[in-house]
Structures are given as structure tokens and as C-alpha cells.
């Protein structure tokens, strides 16, 4: 006989969990009472529940097959998870959150630290459970992990009343597959549709593939490369699809859309056959919807989630399936093809519209920092980006040659994501170099996690691209809101070297290009977390960019 808390911890071990990010409080103390009895479960005490949720997200995003786990107590603890859950939900990241809840007898009485966590998180989780019987704990956890990691992955929340953590029953972890009639496995790709797509590829004169995060989740990068090479199809990607196809490949375009490369947008707008794989095709991809792929004769959409088909753009041919399965079967049908005219045209666009930056000020440019980083690690480091200008710079100026090396909150665009998430990434990948690229604004949003990082000696190189302002918002105000700078000045920001010192975290700062390499070398050689503050040109902007309300071909380039 075990208590509910023990059953939950035993169940986590059965699901292969080794790391938990969490924060204790009144309503989950039985879980913490028994946690030390399970040394296989490494608990990382974060300093804010949001940090815990992001760390669990980073852990799951960067480790094949892993599910991130976060604990929080009831009420405020659980509510602090909401942004982290939303981030994981939009980017399809498998996370299981276990929240303490007031005793089941007290639910609904507005007791201390009670809140309706199931209701508050309903629209940002794939599914959620309120435990009502101690016998349900093990089957619920098993089902929660199954739902989190299968199909289109996503976060699942389990609300766990305190009395049921203490209640006692026999522990039997359910054997065999999870059976739930309302959760069917993803369908196999329809062979007729695949044949149709193979025919379209055969007849295409100007084909383009766009790859989203679905390709990375399905680990379909090799199948994608095979298709591109077999039929000579150029490949672009979404922000979240960065890394699905090597930037250095001759068939590579670049990121598409709002802040994508000009030549990718040109190719998409000229394509006669456009194949979108594992992507949502949101407004950051399409820019103004009617400007997206206007010459396309056959739009093909492959996604595991039927609700993504036809949500934003209506395809002519659609396949609902796992990207790996669909591409593997498609590749068997696609005939080898050599393309010259179209690729020559694209090469010309690449020359006319390279992704580039200019330095008129003589001040340190963010791209120079990223280039120095890339020179030191090539394709071996994992880079997290926060949200804003730093995110786009990190996406465009680091040549990701392998999958899974670039992680960011592409869907919700959660400022403050990268720093706590990088803890999870490093713990999941202890032998990889991890860079957390952030701005001074986003860093400060979750900087309390410096304590967690130092305490656990998590070896992350934190790169603050510090422009003393909310850079992306400042750029928007300059260009699209009459040039009125409003509430974007962050000159009043802590001295990050002193701040690092206060937390016991090695910290360095410079505004000079000639120091960048030395500081990076020192940071990478240091066994432990390092904070590198780079004071960059405060007027550095993201280019190319499509002005708000404009179309894909209206992109503005660096001048």
C-alpha cells in the first residue's frame, strides 16, 4: 500500500522521468515529503513557477522522446504556470504539469490558495485532469504522458488534491497500451493523395517546400532532405522549423514570412506548387494573407493535426499524417528530377536579396556577436533565443546545419522564455554547449532563475544583446507608429556584471567588437553558467522586415 504521493512519484519513474522542475507549497507537500525517497527523480528547485514550466519545456524540446515535468502548488503556484503551458501548447511541446490542489472536500469553498486551475488553464493545455479518487492516480498519469507525447504533442495538467496525495491504496501501474476511444492514433497518409502529390511534383515548374516544427517533432529531417534532393525542390522554413533543413544545403532557402529572407518570400510568391509540411501557416508566415503565394496552382499541406488543414490557407491537396511517415511514403513515389531554370532564378534572388546587415554607427552589431559565436561552435551548440529582435537575429545569423539546435517560443512569443528554458536544455544535454540569446528586457523577466542556475551549476552561456530598449517594439514604433517612442527605454537596467556577482554567477560585459571573441572563449571554457552582456548599437534593427499590413514581397532590407 502506498500513498497517493508515492504512487505519483512511482508512476513518473515508470514513465521514464528523471528530472522535475518544481516549487513546493501547502498543497503539494505530500509530494515533496516523499520526493527524497526517490533519488532517481532529480528535482530542480526553480525560483518561480513560470521558470519551472519553461525549464520543463526546454528539457522536452531538446531531448528526444522526453516529456518535461513541472510541479507547482495550488492557487498562485499553479497560476504562475499558465504562460509556460501556453508556450508549450502553441509550440506542441510535451509537458506534464502536476499541481497541488486544496483537499477535495474544500474545493469550491474559496479556501486558502484555492483557484480553479483546470478552468484557468483549459485553453492552453492539450488535456487536463482533476484527480478525484486515489485509485485513479496511476492510470491518470499514464494516460497524461501518453497524450502529452503522442499525436501532436502538448502540455497536460494534472490537478492533485492534497487529501488524495495522503490517501492510501495498492499500487499497480497499468500494463499495456493506453486505450481511449476518444483519442485515436494519427491516421496513415492516404496513398491516393500521396500519388497525387508525386504527380504534382513531377509537373511542377517552380516547386517550393516550406517546413515547420512538425518536421522536427516527427524527426523527418532526413526524409525531407531526400525529397528535396530527389526532385530538386528548394526548401524554406518557418521560425519554429529552423533546423529542419540545413542552411548550408544547396537546396536551402531561408526563413519565410514577416522577417524571413527576401529570396524565400520571392520563391514562395512565384511558386506554382507549394508543399507545406508540419506548419500552421500563421500570420507571421503569410504576412497579409492575400499576398501569400499568389501564383500557386497547387497548394499541398501535410500536417498531423486535421484542424490545421484549411485553418488559415485552404490547400488543394492535404494529407493528415505524421510528417515522417508521409514523407517516407511520398519519397517512394517521387521520381528523380533535375531542375535548372527555377534553381538559377532562385540563385539570382539569393544574390539580389542576401540576408545582410549594415554597420553605419561603428558600434557593436548583434550579428557580429552571433557570427563570433557561430565561428566557435559551428553545428555543435544548441541556441535558445528569447523573443524580439534577438530571436530573429539568432534565427538568421547562426547557420543551423543540424536539427534541434535552435529553440524559441515561436508561437506565443513569450518574453522571458529563453533563460529558464536553457536550464532544461542543458540538463537534458549535458555534453552540448548551450547558448541562451536574450535581450536585457526578456532576461530581466525571469532573471530570478540565476539562483537556480548557480545552485545547480548549469553550464549555460547567457548572451544578453543589450540595446537599452525593448528593441523590437522600438523598431515598430520608429517605423509603423509615427516614430513615437513610448515606454520602450530600458536604460534603467541593472549592471549585469554586478548582478551576476550578487548571484554568484560569472559575468562579463563589453561594447567592443575586439573583446567579443575573448569573452566568448572565456565563457565557453568556464565550467558553469556565465552571463555575457554585450552593449550593442541601440539602433540596430531587424532586416528584412515586411511593414505591418503589407504583403510578402514588400519586405524592407538593410540599407
Amino acid at each position: 500500500m502506498l500513498t497517493g504521493a508515492q504512487i505519483a512519484l512511482e508512476s513518473l519513474i515508470r514513465e521514464g522521468v528523471d528530472t522535475i522542475f518544481g516549487y513546493p507549497g501547502g498543497a503539494n507537500l505530500w509530494l515533496y515529503r516523499h520526493l527524497p525517497d526517490y533519488p532517481k527523480l532529480h528535482h530542480v528547485l526553480v525560483r518561480h513557477e513560470q521558470g519551472g514550466a519553461h525549464a520543463a519545456d526546454g528539457y522536452a524540446r531538446s531531448k528526444r522522446g522526453a516529456v518535461g515535468v513541472v510541479f507547482a502548488t495550488s492557487g498562485p503556484g499553479a497560476l504562475n504556470l499558465v504562460t509556460g503551458l501556453a508556450t508549450a501548447y502553441m509550440d506542441s511541446v510535451p509537458v506534464v504539469a502536476i499541481t497541488g490542489q486544496v483537499p477535495s472536500t474544500a474545493i469550491g469553498t474559496d479556501s486558502f490558495q484555492e483557484s480553479d486551475v483546470i478552468g484557468s488553464t483549459m485553453s492552453v493545455v492539450k488535456h487536463s485532469y482533476l484527480i478525484t479518487r486515489v485509485e485513479d492516480i496511476a492510470p491518470t498519469i499514464k494516460e497524461a504522458f501518453h497524450i502529452a507525447r503522442t499525436g501532436r504533442p502538448g502540455p497536460v495538467l494534472i490537478d492533485f488534491p492534497k487529501d488524495l496525495q495522503a490517501a492510501v491504496t495498492a499500487f499497480n501501474y497499468p500494463e499495456g497500451p493506453v486505450r481511449r476511444r476518444s483519442y485515436p492514433a494519427p491516421p496513415r497518409p492516404d496513398p491516393a493523395k500521396l500519388r497525387q502529390i508525386a504527380e504534382l511534383i513531377k509537373g511542377a515548374k517552380r516547386p517550393v517546400i516550406l517546413a515547420g516544427r512538425g518536421v522536427l517533432i516527427a524527426r523527418a529531417e532526413e526524409e525531407l532532405a531526400e525529397l528535396a534532393h530527389q526532385a530538386h525542390i528548394p526548401v524554406g522554413w518557418t521560425l519554429l522549423g529552423t533546423g529542419a533543413f540545413p542552411v548550408t544545403d544547396p537546396m536551402a532557402l531561408q526563413m519565410v514570412g514577416f522577417m524571413g529572407a527576401g529570396y524565400t518570400n520571392k520563391a514562395v510568391c512565384d511558386a506554382d506548387v507549394l508543399i507545406m509540411i508540419g506548419m500552421r501557416c500563421d500570420d507571421r508566415v503569410t504576412t497579409r494573407l492575400d499576398s501569400f503565394a499568389p501564383r500557386v496552382e497547387h497548394l499541398v499541406h501535410i500536417d498531423i493535426d486535421p484542424a490545421e488543414i484549411g485553418k488559415n490557407v485552404i490547400p488543394h491537396v492535404s494529407v493528415v499524417a505524421d510528417a515522417k511517415v508521409a514523407l517516407r511514403e511520398l519519397n517512394l513515389l517521387v521520381e528523380p528530377k533535375r531542375e535548372h531554370q527555377w534553381l538559377t532564378q532562385i540563385d539570382q534572388w539569393k544574390e539580389e536579396h542576401p540576408v545582410r546587415f549594415t554597420n553605419h554607427s561603428g558600434l557593436l552589431q548583434p550579428q557580429e556577436v552571433l557570427e563570433a559565436m557561430y565561428a566557435r561552435c559551428e553545428d555543435e551548440a544548441i541556441v535558445l533565443a528569447d523573443v524580439g529582435q534577438n530571436q530573429i537575429w539568432a534565427a538568421l545569423w547562426f547557420n543551423y546545419g543540424k536539427p534541434g539546435l535552435f529553440l524559441n517560443s515561436g508561437g506565443t512569443g513569450t518574453m522571458g522564455y529563453a533563460f529558464p528554458a536553457s536550464m532544461g536544455v542543458k540538463l537534458a544535454n549535458p555534453h552540448k554547449t548551450v547558448f541562451c540569446v536574450t535581450g536585457e528586457g526578456g532576461f530581466v523577466m525571469n532573471m530570478q532563475e540565476m539562483a537556480t542556475m548557480v545552485e545547480n551549476n548549469i553550464d549555460v552561456n547567457v548572451i544578453i544583446l543589450n540595446n537599452s530598449s525593448l528593441g523590437m517594439v522600438r523598431q515598430f514604433q520608429d517605423d509603423f507608429y509615427d516614430g513615437v517612442r513610448s515606454a520602450v527605454d530600458l536604460t534603467f537596467t541593472p549592471d549585469f556584471v554586478k548582478l551576476g556577482d550578487a548571484f554568484g554567477m560569472k559575468a562579463m560585459s563589453t561594447d567592443r567588437l575586439e573583446d567579443v571573441g575573448r569573452l566568448l572563449d572565456e565563457a565557453m571554457a568556464h565550467k558553469g553558467p556565465v552571463l555575457l552582456n554585450f552593449n550593442i548599437d541601440p539602433n540596430a534593427n531587424v532586416y528584412p522586415i515586411v511593414p505591418l499590413g503589407k504583403g510578402m514581397l514588400d519586405f524592407v532590407e538593410a540599407s
Partner: protein, 194 residues
């Protein structure tokens, strides 16, 4: 162009399902005209009948987003099919003795019933299509409606064939083995429905 869509949804009979469905419909910006829910012959399954007011493309989105909810077993857009789609209305009518005959005639025409008689009022029950109920209410108005309660639509498609046999939803084994092989790059042999 928006129109009313009639959705027949089978869901797991679990707490919170109604909120999940309602919350999803609100969050995606669809409008619910009516929603009724009740158990089926299988007490682990409830049927929700939902009327949403949406455009054509939205109708497909609403259906797919609903189908994605883990508690939703199956969803069937039965708009425009040969349906029996009925509502129920209870009306407390002002009806003092001596003024009841005319009212009772109208109730007969609508195949309604008197389900309660009080000294100066009666409760009338009528079932049928939304249009029929609308007409009935309009006819009752001049006689003095004291109180009214009206249900949402419940509907089934006519004919011998059940639209959904739950056998169709036999769960295919996402065996831990199969799942592991998916992660390793070998597809699980899965044959999904829906």
C-alpha cells in the same frame, strides 16, 4: 455568409466536458445558438447537440477543433440531412376557468399536452422543430404567457442506420513498443478513424 450548423457530438461522460466544449467554441470565436446535453443508452457516453452560427469555412474549423478535444469521441455535422431535430417548450399560460377551451384547441393542433392545471393557469408542453415552437409561442402570446422554459435542440438522423457505431472507434494499440518505434523512426501500424 453565416448559417446554422447542427452538430451531434458524442463525448465521454466526464466532469468538465461541457466546459471544455463551450470554452473551445468561445475561444475560437464561434457563437452557440443552442446546446443540449444528456446521457445516452451507454452511461459512459453523453450526446451533445449543438447549434452554432458560423460561416462555411468556420464550420469545418469548429468541427475539427471540437474533434481535437480529448473527451470528444466523435462529431457529426448533420446539417441538411433528414433529421428529427426537436425542442421542448413548457409554457405557463394565464387560463382562468371558462377561458380554457380555445387554448385547449390550439394545444391540440400543436399536439401539445396540458401537464399541470392550477386554479387560474395551466402548463402546456409542446415538442417539435424550432419553427413549430416559435409559431406556437406566437399564437400563445395574446392569451397571456406567464412563464416559459424552452430546451435546446436534440436531434437524430432518420433511417435505419445509426450514424455512429462505437465499434468503429475500437482503439488501436498505440503499444508502448509501437510508440517507441515511432520515436526511432519506424512507423507504428496505426489505423486511425475520425
Amino acid at each position: 455568409m453565416t448559417q446554422s450548423r447542427l452538430l451531434s457530438v458524442l463525448v465521454d461522460n466526464k466532469p468538465g466536458v461541457l466546459q471544455r466544449v463551450a470554452s473551445m467554441i468561445r475561444r475560437r470565436g464561434f457563437n452557440i445558438d443552442s446546446l443540449s446535453v444528456g446521457p445516452t443508452d451507454d452511461d459512459t457516453i453523453s450526446r451533445m447537440t449543438i447549434t452554432v452560427h458560423v460561416g462555411r469555412q468556420q464550420a469545418e474549423q469548429a468541427t475539427k477543433q471540437l474533434a481535437k478535444l480529448i473527451d470528444v469521441i466523435t462529431i457529426d455535422d448533420i446539417t441538411g440531412l433528414r433529421n428529427v431535430a426537436h425542442e421542448l417548450v413548457l409554457v405557463r399560460m394565464h387560463a382562468p376557468p371558462g377561458e380554457r377551451t380555445e387554448l385547449l384547441n390550439l394545444v391540440d393542433i400543436f399536439r401539445g399536452r396540458i401537464v399541470d392545471v392550477a386554479p387560474s393557469s395551466v402548463i402546456i408542453e409542446v415538442t417539435g422543430s424550432a419553427e413549430k415552437i416559435d409559431n406556437f409561442i406566437e399564437l400563445m402570446r395574446p392569451y397571456g404567457i406567464k412563464e416559459l422554459a424552452r430546451s435546446g435542440v436534440v436531434a437524430l438522423v432518420r433511417g435505419d442506420q445509426a450514424r455512429i457505431r462505437l465499434m468503429d472507434f475500437a482503439i488501436d494499440g498505440d503499444e508502448p513498443q509501437a510508440e517507441l518505434s515511432r520515436l526511432q523512426g519506424v512507423a507504428a501500424d496505426t489505423t486511425g478513424t475520425v
